[in-house]
């Protein structure tokens, strides 16, 4: 799995460089979360993307589409060669995920703050259908500044949606800098607890811990679970780490060589 995460990171750098734009920083911080989900946690079948019993994954932070595309391609949803078409005219790999365009994309996202609400609906449907599949959602931390998340958080706990697991990619950086300078999120754990959620805090780059936390979430009854995953934005590429400049900017050709050599040795 570590090797998969490394491959995912290499794809992210290659894709965003080929596209000339995109969001490598948050994509790199999410690499382990997505890798663990698609290679160990999710019940899914790339050969049958519409299988009704599958677990659902909603990428609320739609701008890290490159990370999701990389994982989906590695999992076998579509050929890895297609990754380099990111953001091209006619490509199935839209700048932000578009449901119906590409197998494995459960929801169109990109306008932040909407993924937990969508997960709520999917979770209610699973309950109505007496299906035991689970709903996973990945949010950015800056994204939590948006009010709809808290409407959704209130709703999920009110309805006791214990089939939802939300990840917060807590990389602490957003476009204009540190989340705590832009609009502070702390105390974040207490906020979720106050909204009635089961809260688990982990190192978001520790694959085994991510898997364990998902197992803990599965065992928690009557409440939804949020996993606050502490991560490093740009993780794995020396000059991108903790650098908000690479939130929405790809690297130059020269930087790409350095990035790829960083990713030869990482993990």
């Amino acid at each position: 799995m570590k090797e998969k995460a490394r491959l995912v990171r290499r794809h992210i750098v290659e894709m965003t460089c080929a596209a000339g734009s995109g969001h490598p920083g948050g994509s790199l911080s999410s690499a382990e979360i997505l890798t663990a989900l698609y290679f160990r946690v999710l019940k899914h079948d790339p050969k049958r993307p519409d299988w009704e019993g599958r677990d659902r994954f909603v990428l609320s932070k739609g701008h890290v589409a490159p990370a999701l595309y990389a994982v989906l391609a590695e999992a076998g949803y579509f050929p890895t060669e297609e990754l380099l078409t990111l953001r091209e005219l006619g490509s199935r790999l839209q700048g932000h995920p578009s449901k119906g365009k590409l197998p494995g994309i459960e929801m169109s996202t990109g306008s932040l703050g909407q993924g937990i609400s969508v997960s709520n609906g999917m979770a209610l449907a699973a309950r109505l259908d007496s299906s035991d599949h689970r709903i996973y959602c990945l949010c950015g931390d800056g994204e939590l500044q948006s009010g709809q998340n808290w409407e959704a958080a209130m709703f999920a706990s009110h309805y006791g949606l214990d089939n939802i697991t939300v990840f917060v990619d807590r990389n602490r950086l957003q476009i204009m800098g540190d989340t705590e300078d832009v609009l502070s999120l702390e105390p974040l754990e207490e906020k979720w607890t106050g909204f009635g959620w089961n809260v688990i805090v982990i190192d978001g780059h520790d694959l085994e811990r991510i898997i364990e936390a998902c197992e803990e979430a599965r065992r928690c009854k009557g409440r939804p679970t949020v996993i606050i995953a502490n991560t490093v934005k740009g993780r794995g590429v020396s000059f991108m780490e903790n650098n908000p400049d690479f939130h929405g900017k790809c690297c130059s050709e020269e930087q790409k060589d350095l990035a790829m050599s960083d990713l030869e040795g990482c993990l």
């Binding site: 449901k99 929801m107 609400s117 109505l128 959704a152």
Partner: protein
């Protein structure tokens, strides 16, 4: 003329749909007793989800349910449904083409006492500009019932616009209703009055007044504002050669705009719009407000005279500073 509530008939239709189809679910934002989703909630409590005063989450939740194969009705007042949630509808419902029916009540100036904050006069414009969205403005309670039933078996997003007050029942219970199809309620050769919502009944009354002046007005009920029934419009306007539109909505972006856009590109017939002239509403009795904001049968008659005069004199611009 007998009047009935669009909301009540919507509530009845929704409950009937719930009986026939287990995939129907309904959501509301603390307004169920007004939007009448409460009828459904009483019979199918397991398939009704109270969302509280959190409309954006309601629309996202509706999207998630629809993505999982449910046919979802989401209801609240039109101002909140379309204004507060426009981005949620755009991103999570219209873009992925999900099966969510937004059933909005309390549209237009006839909301009355609550005033401008609650009088949706821009909702059709907001929904009409959205790709993949069908927009229906039923003329009366019978049509609200039929539209509700019809959209349930029509895949994709849809907006149904209903009023607060009771409106005259002008269509027959057994008259056919088809999404995207206008209906001619009165034949005439001199002017076409195209109405939506409760303004259709006022178009009929205006036609009666025009008859006394020797003018034969045709009345077209454009219950679906998007997609516009262009065939019905052409068929009528080719004969009458002039048009009046009437809607309980801003003249910007609604039915009048839709007809003007079509005629501007495809015809050259004179046209006059009856609607609210780029303004917010205010508190008052519905009838008083309809008068103050230019939404009466007399306003339609006046507009018809103007349209006919332009047709006859082939005048250039009406507008002079």
């Amino acid at each position: 003329m007998k009047k009935a509530s669009q909301r009540s008939f919507f509530g009845k239709a929704l409950a009937e749909l719930g009986e026939a189809d287990e995939s129907i679910v309904a959501l509301d934002a603390d307004l169920g007793s007004s939007t009448k989703t409460s009828d459904f909630a009483k019979v199918f409590p397991d398939r009704f989800f109270q969302c509280g005063i959190a409309e954006q989450n309601m629309m996202g939740t509706a999207a998630g349910l629809a993505a999982a194969g449910k046919t979802v009705f989401a209801s609240t007042f039109a101002v909140f449904a379309t204004g507060r949630c426009w981005d949620q509808i755009r991103q999570s419902i219209a873009y992925p083409q999900l099966n969510v029916k937004i059933a909005a009540t309390h549209c237009g100036i006839s909301v009355g006492g609550d005033g401008a904050s609650h009088q949706a006069l821009e909702d059709v414009a907001l929904m009409r500009a959205m790709p993949n969205m069908t927009v229906i403005c039923p003329a009366d309670a019978n049509e609200a019932y039929k539209a509700t039933i019809a959209v349930a078996s029509m895949p994709g997003p849809c907006y149904i616009r209903m009023g607060r007050a009771d409106f005259p029942l002008i269509t027959d219970e057994d008259a056919p209703f088809e999404v995207g199809k206008a209906s001619i309620l009165r034949k005439g050769k001199d002017v076409t009055l195209v109405g939506s919502g409760q303004m259709v009944s006022l178009c009929l009354e205006a036609a009666e007044m025009l008859k006394e002046e020797g003018v034969a007005a045709e009345v077209l009920n454009m219950a679906t504002v998007k997609p516009l029934d262009a065939e019905a419009l052409i068929e009528s306007v080719e004969r009458t050669r002039c048009v009046v539109t009437a809607e309980e909505h801003s003249v910007i972006g609604g039915l009048g705009s839709a007809v003007a856009e079509f005629l501007g590109e495809n015809g050259n017939q004179p046209m006059v719009r009856v609607g609210v002239r780029d303004s917010f509403g205010e508190s008052g009795d519905p009838e008083e407000l309809m008068v103050k904001y230019g939404l009466t049968k007399e306003d339609i008659v006046h507009a018809a005279r103007k349209a006919i005069a332009r047709k006859q004199k082939k005048k250039g611009f009406l507008w002079r500073k």
